[in-house]
Symmetry: D2
Subunit: 315 residues, 4 copies
Amino acid sequence: MDILIDSLKERALEHKNTLCIGRTHGIHAEVTTMGLKFAQWYDEMARNRKRFIEAINEISIGQISGAVGTFDHLSPQVEEFVCENLGLKPEPVSTQVIQRDRHAYYLAVTGIIAGTLEKIATEIRHLQKTEVLEAEEFFGKGQKGSSAMPHKRNPIVCERITGMARLMRSYISPAVENIALWHERDISHSSVERVVFPDATILIDYMLQKSIDLIQKLIIYPENMMKNILLTRGLTYSQKVLLALTESGLSREASYAAVQDAAMRVWRDESLNLKDELLKNDVVKNNITTERFDSIFDLKNSLKNVDYIFNKAFK
Amino acid sequence: MDILIDSLKERALEHKNTLCIGRTHGIHAEVTTMGLKFAQWYDEMARNRKRFIEAINEISIGQISGAVGTFDHLSPQVEEFVCENLGLKPEPVSTQVIQRDRHAYYLAVTGIIAGTLEKIATEIRHLQKTEVLEAEEFFGKGQKGSSAMPHKRNPIVCERITGMARLMRSYISPAVENIALWHERDISHSSVERVVFPDATILIDYMLQKSIDLIQKLIIYPENMMKNILLTRGLTYSQKVLLALTESGLSREASYAAVQDAAMRVWRDESLNLKDELLKNDVVKNNITTERFDSIFDLKNSLKNVDYIFNKAFK
Amino acid sequence: MDILIDSLKERALEHKNTLCIGRTHGIHAEVTTMGLKFAQWYDEMARNRKRFIEAINEISIGQISGAVGTFDHLSPQVEEFVCENLGLKPEPVSTQVIQRDRHAYYLAVTGIIAGTLEKIATEIRHLQKTEVLEAEEFFGKGQKGSSAMPHKRNPIVCERITGMARLMRSYISPAVENIALWHERDISHSSVERVVFPDATILIDYMLQKSIDLIQKLIIYPENMMKNILLTRGLTYSQKVLLALTESGLSREASYAAVQDAAMRVWRDESLNLKDELLKNDVVKNNITTERFDSIFDLKNSLKNVDYIFNKAFK
Amino acid sequence: MDILIDSLKERALEHKNTLCIGRTHGIHAEVTTMGLKFAQWYDEMARNRKRFIEAINEISIGQISGAVGTFDHLSPQVEEFVCENLGLKPEPVSTQVIQRDRHAYYLAVTGIIAGTLEKIATEIRHLQKTEVLEAEEFFGKGQKGSSAMPHKRNPIVCERITGMARLMRSYISPAVENIALWHERDISHSSVERVVFPDATILIDYMLQKSIDLIQKLIIYPENMMKNILLTRGLTYSQKVLLALTESGLSREASYAAVQDAAMRVWRDESLNLKDELLKNDVVKNNITTERFDSIFDLKNSLKNVDYIFNKAFK
């Protein structure tokens, strides 16, 4: 987990200012940066790390308290001695076994970690789609994609992680069901745990290993990101122009009419772009200085608070 | 949760030395006390309280960072100001929304709390069974059980809690699925959360309220507990006698033969008890002093480490 | 499954008239028979068998339709030929793969079958409890229970089945999540199915094998069943007496007062039984003939419709 | 469900020959048609309809068999009479209640139906993405998308359905847990069913209503589909050319070299397309007739088996 977190930070810093379109509902919204995506994953993984340490503490517990937890045949000092030597804390009150709320907590946390890895994998699967192609899983020289189509590189590691996250969250419910053992212990939890614990711990380890490799070698295509930003030919800036016009003193109605008129033309005709269409309108030209106008359409302005976010994330 | 924890402690102290049989696999094992059951629940509930505080911290987060989380139209200082006034911490890196691993964690923790309440309810359902009758849910004077059978008092609150715990753990999986939103946000989490959050929070509150009432008013029948302990007529002490005989210098084989012989007779004939049958055997009589013998069959000896456990649990 | 169904029928017929107390909410209700328990399991397992055949049909499907399901490079006749030779039906409309609603259905059905096996196992765990002891898992001569306590025979097979049922139902959710593959196929289902299909099919087979053995060799203790029936000393018949009194022309108020008075005395004093206490009351004596009275307290009357149920179940 | 099935059929026939790219792993694979997507959904929904009818049969069961299912106070004929009048079948063997495997089956089936609706919704969300834009949820004239960006139409109905499918599958597990009631009935299932049954049935009804509207009014953009097909400038046909060259007698090595050389140039240079680049190569020109060559690159050839599939699906 530490290596993954470090790798996410490294890629975040590397692509801090690599512009790409932000999407909500799958639709272009406003510009963001690839570095911010990595930074968000870094921040979430750091939360998961904190949760995981807590989960390990929760199950680092030992118990030698007899058939029903009363220390009837053995002194509690034996439990204390053994636990201390094993680096465990004694269970304050046990029955025949350590209580299973601890194990449920551990599996809930690993299920959530898998959910974060699924989120990362899902994003990359989207970015690798043929029409988008802003990023790609590393594709080794000897690796076989599709023999006939050189463009056919499939995000199979990300797809695998997606499926494994479904498995990881399926382990939570039986672990929570295990809490309500009968009386001083029944053994129904055992058949569950023999499957769930090795599977869950091996799986999350594998997912983390794969994710480290995925992030470290992920291929980023900044030029395609820019191409996608330009796909809507400036329409994403219509809100900023509207704001600038009303600030210049123009009525909201007149401002909106001017922007809408230009936007609709651009929307219908792929050869047009919003900036040029707006400049054909005297109302716009007379109310916004060229300087202001250029500033609105300057993508770098969208980055003005990236430093703030990075400082907060990586302090 | 605080009231429930206090109530569990109070009942634990009240029944610290109320002897009852401990059961593993549903079968009588060794003697324990009703207070130890309460103490174990107290200890587990205290863990849940700690988890719940962490879960609240995890979702006490605010965010006003724009359409894709870049603070394009608004200064981060607005977010800081608003969050501070609302007692929230700003999300370090957000997209259009606060990340859903936080909400998944919250629902996992409440699902686990419900698992603990289910454990308590399951124990009481077992103790209230006609053949056991060591405890009963409080049954109000005006309350209608069964009109015809005065003994028919059903543990309906415990059964209700059991069912509701199934609901509570069912909320975890959709919450974990919500983590992997597309890009800077898709709105698929919303329809889930509109159902799951009100239902889960109302339900866990109701379960806690019911559990407080359940614990505070739970009727305990110490005389029935003693009756059940005596059901096996001393057989639970055969291991201690065996140990005493071998310590006295008798060979393990001879010791085992002596105890087994007596135990088998007791097992087959309900009118016999282990102590008397053992005393008919000279091998036993000559190797264990009357004092030692009485001490073995003195139930109070099973309580010798209860103080140790209580001190650890309620320090 | 067929062997299990046959075994359940055999044990049902064997214990058709073996009286035992029926319990609702864990509390004694009215008398039933052990055969009826087996008959209910038989009936439910027969439903499961029907569902399972349907589930097998649902996944006995083949497909050779090319990269996106269009038969672009290969004639549909190849698919037809191969499927016919493999005993499969061709998928009417496929993408690159057979659709995953079929697999989800299969795993839902096996999860439900496991739920039925869990129900049987849970019942036996209850019947084997020390205070109840109406039935026991077979315990081989060489089998080691507890070395010290000859009565300590644990229902470990039933407990194991209980835990495995938790696993079996945990496979349903990832299988349903697998349905929504992207476009003409993504490979996220694969990592899920590599784990879930072998585990689920091996596990349900093992659970069925264990259940066959469990049912065939289950030890039934009719004398303990009768002992438990008598535990409440006739209180379960109070409703029938009440009914007979009102039918005799006595007012409901007077009838209820008479029965309640006797019932309360019996409830408080373990040395009393309802029949004798009622007969001490002249109101009862004068309104119910001795014949009718004996008939009410004749356990065999509770069996009058068992034939009807068996005829329906095993027609 | 019937209306949805009819609507899917109607849209399938309407777009039977509307070409679009098929995608596997999110990457362009081979050409298919929009009608085939609808046809596949139609076929799957028809399966769900069959399952749903079976599920309704499974729970159309009545029972009036007394406190523990023995018809102690009431003749079985009453049950028969009432059930017949209510259009229900009597439960062959009941306890105090109808057995809960039936309800689990019903909720499993509705959860799977929701999975199919999620698949449809997920596909449309993908097709509506800005870079793809092959289909769009209907967007009413008065409907508010985003005030500033006329292109910002979000697939909110599909996203809502996606979330609701998560809820629908979360109901399965508690329903399966409800099967193992204690003895002749405990009431733990009741608190589950009071929530799960109204929620699941209302939700699936709502999802179906929304899906009908979604399918009937779904806007299809055939011209964008064609634009996306052409995105890879003929690369999807490289396999067919390779096949044709080897069939002409050319060695596989020489064939592969010729195709790969052209494909690589096209892959690197967006101004090139595979057909023209291949024709520059004499090896290709001399081994494939112009007629064959045109036929390979004729999209209509990909439709040659669509009739076969439609005949099978809509027979």
